[in-house]
Symmetry: C3
Subunit: 264 residues, 3 copies
C-alpha cells in the first residue's frame, strides 16, 4: 500500500507555498506517495481553529497516515519543530498547540533534528524546508525515533472550561462553520452528565435572549428560521438554524456565551 | 488499476467536514484508493448549480469512477440516500436532483441500506457517516445491488423550458461562471433546430437592451468590451465579453432573459 | 512509479472546468496517474502572478513531472499551445509567458499538433480539449517530439529591471502574498553584489516614508507591528511585518517602489 501524507495549512493556494511543499514531499518521499489535501483555507495564524480542525479530522485516517500541519505564526522563533505519534497517526508540525487536543498522555513527541548533511534552511519557510522533508521521511517508513530526540515538554490544548452553577451549565461558542452553525465547548459527555436522567425536552438552551427547549437529532428537524440545539458531528453541542445561518441571523461571534438550563 | 473516488461538496475546506470524509474513504476503501477533489466551493445548498456542475464533469471520467456528491440542504430529513449507475459512472449522494441531469432513463438507482452491523450514525453528517462509507464500498468493487434496494422513484432535473414565439426563441441565464460568462438554458441542438439553414450572421442575440449579431467561435474573437454569443464548452449558448466580465459589466443576474431572433 | 501531473489554473472550482480537465487526464492518461493540485485560485488572467507561481513551484518536483498550467486570457486566439522541456520538468500550456521565468536558454519548446484523428475541439476550452490530452500523453511516456513540431520562437519573462544610482538600488513590489508580505524584484544575488562586503546592519530599506535598517533572518525576529526586511523563501527581497499584514497596514499596492540605500 502506498504511503499517505495529508496537508493542512493556512497558506491559501494563490501563493506557491503549498505547491513547493508538495514538490518536496513527492521528490523526497517514497515512490507512489499519495498526497491528500485537507485544507489550505484555515484562518491565517488561528491556532485555535486549526486545533479543532485537526481534532476532528486526524483520527478518521488509516493507521500510519502522516499528517503535515503548518499553521505557524512563530516560524523561525524558538518554538520546537515536532513529530508526534498518537495512536496510529503520525503528526508533523510546529509545537504550538495545533495538535494539542489529540494529546491524551499516550503521545510520543520528538523534536526534529537537523539532517546530518547540512542543508540550507530558509529561515522563513519551515513548511517546505523542515516539516515537508520530515513528513517525506516518515512516509518512507523511517520511525520518528530516527528523526529527532524525545521532546522534554510539548504544548497541550484544552477546551475553555464550562461553568456549573446550580441548574445552569454555561459554555461558549468556539467555532462558527461555513453554514453559520454555532459550535460550543460543551461536549456530549459533559452535557449527558449534567442532564442525568432528565427528559431532554425539559432542558432550555439559550443564546443571549433567544432560547429553545429540547435537543433535535438533525438540522432538518427545526422549523425554518428557528433556533435548534443538537449534538453535532464532532460530539459538541451546536446551536443552528434550519437551512439558515445562525451566526448571521442572530449576529453571533466567537466567544458568545451559551447557557443550558435544567427545566422545571 | 487503483480505484477512483471524486468528491464534490458545498462544504468549503475551512471546516473539517471534507477532511473527515476523506479519512473515512481511505480507511474503509480499497488500498491505493485515489481521491480526486472536484469542488468543495459549490454555493451552499444550491442544488441547481451543483446539478449543472455534475452534468459537465461526471461523463468525462474513466469507466468505474465513483462520484461522491454532497450538497444536501435536507440532511436528516426524509430524502433518500442513493447510489446510481449511469452509463459507466457510479454516483453516491442525496436524492435531491443533484444527479438529475444525468438521468436519461437508463439509470439504475438504489436506496442505500443501513449496514448490517448497527453503526452509530450521526444525524447531522450523512456525508461522513452514510455516503462516504457507501462510496468506499463501491470503490472496493461491491456492486450497488449489494448495498441497497432498488428505489421506487427518484428525482430528475430538467433545464427550464425555452419558449418559442414566431421568429423568437427565449431562454434565460442559468449559470454565471467565475469569469462572468453568462450560460443559458439554450442547448446547441435546440438552437440549431431553431435556426435551420439560416446563416448565423443573420441571427440576433439579445440581453435586455443589448444585442449582438452572429455567433463567434471563441471569446478572443470579440472586440474588447463588446458582447459576443457563442456555444460554450458544455454545449449551451453563452453570452460573454472578451477578457471582460459580462455579468459585472452589464449588471446581469441569474434568471435574466435572453432572446434569439431570426434575422430579416 | 506512477506518473505525476500537476494542475495550475485561474479557473476556481465553483465552475466545472477543472473537474472536466481531471476527467480527461484520468481517462486519457496512464493507469494509476496521480493528479496534484497546485492552485486553481490564481487571479483571473494575471499572467505575471502565474509566472511567479510557476517559477517557485515547478523546480521542486521529481524528474519527469508534467505541469499543466492554464492561465489563458487569449484562449482561441493566435497564441501557440506549447509543450516545453526544462531541466527534468515537462510543461504544458499556452505560450503567453506563464513559463517564461523558467526559460534559461536550455529549454526545448514544441507547438502542440492537432491529433491525427480529427477531434471536435471546443473553441473556448483549450484546457480540456488541447492541454489536458497533451499532458495525458506526456504522462503516458510519449516524448514531446512526438506530440508537436519545434517552436520557431516562444515567449520569455524577466523581472522588471532594478535601477542603480550611486548608493541607491531601486526596485518594486511585484507580489503581495496572503499574509500581506511584500515581495520585490530584487533578487538575493543582485542585493549581495550591491552590498559587497558592507555590513548589512548599515543598509536601509525604504518603502515610501517608512524605512528599516538591516536584514533579519525570519519574520519572527521583528518587533510586532514594525517593518522588517528579509530574503524570502523564493530568494527575493521581502518587506514584512511580524504576525501582521504589511500590505494592509501600510496601504501598499503592487508596483510600489522599494529603495535600498548603502549606509554611511
Amino acid at each position: 500500500v502506498s504511503a499517505l501524507v495529508t496537508l493542512t495549512t493556512d497558506f491559501g493556494v494563490a501563493d506557491p507555498y503549498v505547491a513547493e511543499m508538495k514538490g518536496v514531499l513527492l521528490r523526497e518521499g517514497p515512490p507512489d506517495l499519495r498526497l491528500i489535501d485537507l485544507s489550505h483555507e484555515l484562518a491565517p495564524f488561528d491556532i485555535a481553529a486549526a486545533a479543532l480542525f485537526v481534532r476532528a479530522a486526524v483520527p478518521r485516517f488509516p493507521p500510519g497516515t502522516v499528517h503535515l500541519v503548518v499553521v505557524d505564526p512563530g516560524v523561525g522563533s524558538a518554538r520546537q519543530a515536532i513529530i508526534a505519534r498518537v495512536g496510529e497517526q503520525l503528526l508533523v508540525g510546529p509545537d504550538n498547540r495545533v495538535f494539542g487536543y489529540l494529546f491524551d498522555g499516550s503521545e510520543e513527541v520528538f523534536v526534529i533534528a537537523p539532517e546530518p548533511a547540512p542543508r540550507s534552511v530558509s529561515s522563513t519557510f519551515h513548511g517546505r524546508d523542515i516539516f515537508a522533508p520530515a513528513a517525506a521521511r516518515l512516509a518512507a517508513g523511517r520511525p520518528p525515533e530516527q528523526l529527532g530526540r524525545r521532546a522534554e515538554s510539548h504544548q497541550h490544548m484544552v477546551f475553555p472550561l464550562v461553568e456549573f452553577a446550580g441548574d445552569t451549565l454555561a459554555g461558549r461558542v468556539i467555532h462558527i462553520d461555513r453554514f453559520g452553525n454555532l459550535i460550543t465547548n460543551i461536549a456530549h459527555g459533559v452535557l449527558s452528565d449534567f442532564l442525568g436522567s432528565l427528559d431532554p425536552s425539559r432542558v432550555q438552551f439559550s443564546l443571549g435572549e433567544r432560547s429553545v427547549r429540547g435537543l433535535v437529532d438533525h438540522y432538518a428537524q427545526g422549523k425554518p428560521g428557528e433556533l435548534v440545539a443538537l449534538i453535532g458531528s464532532s460530539g459538541l453541542l451546536e446551536l443552528a438554524v434550519r437551512e439558515g445561518n445562525a451566526a448571521l441571523k442572530f449576529g453571533i461571534e466567537l466567544g458568545k456565551h451559551v447557557r443550558v438550563q435544567r427545566g422545571s
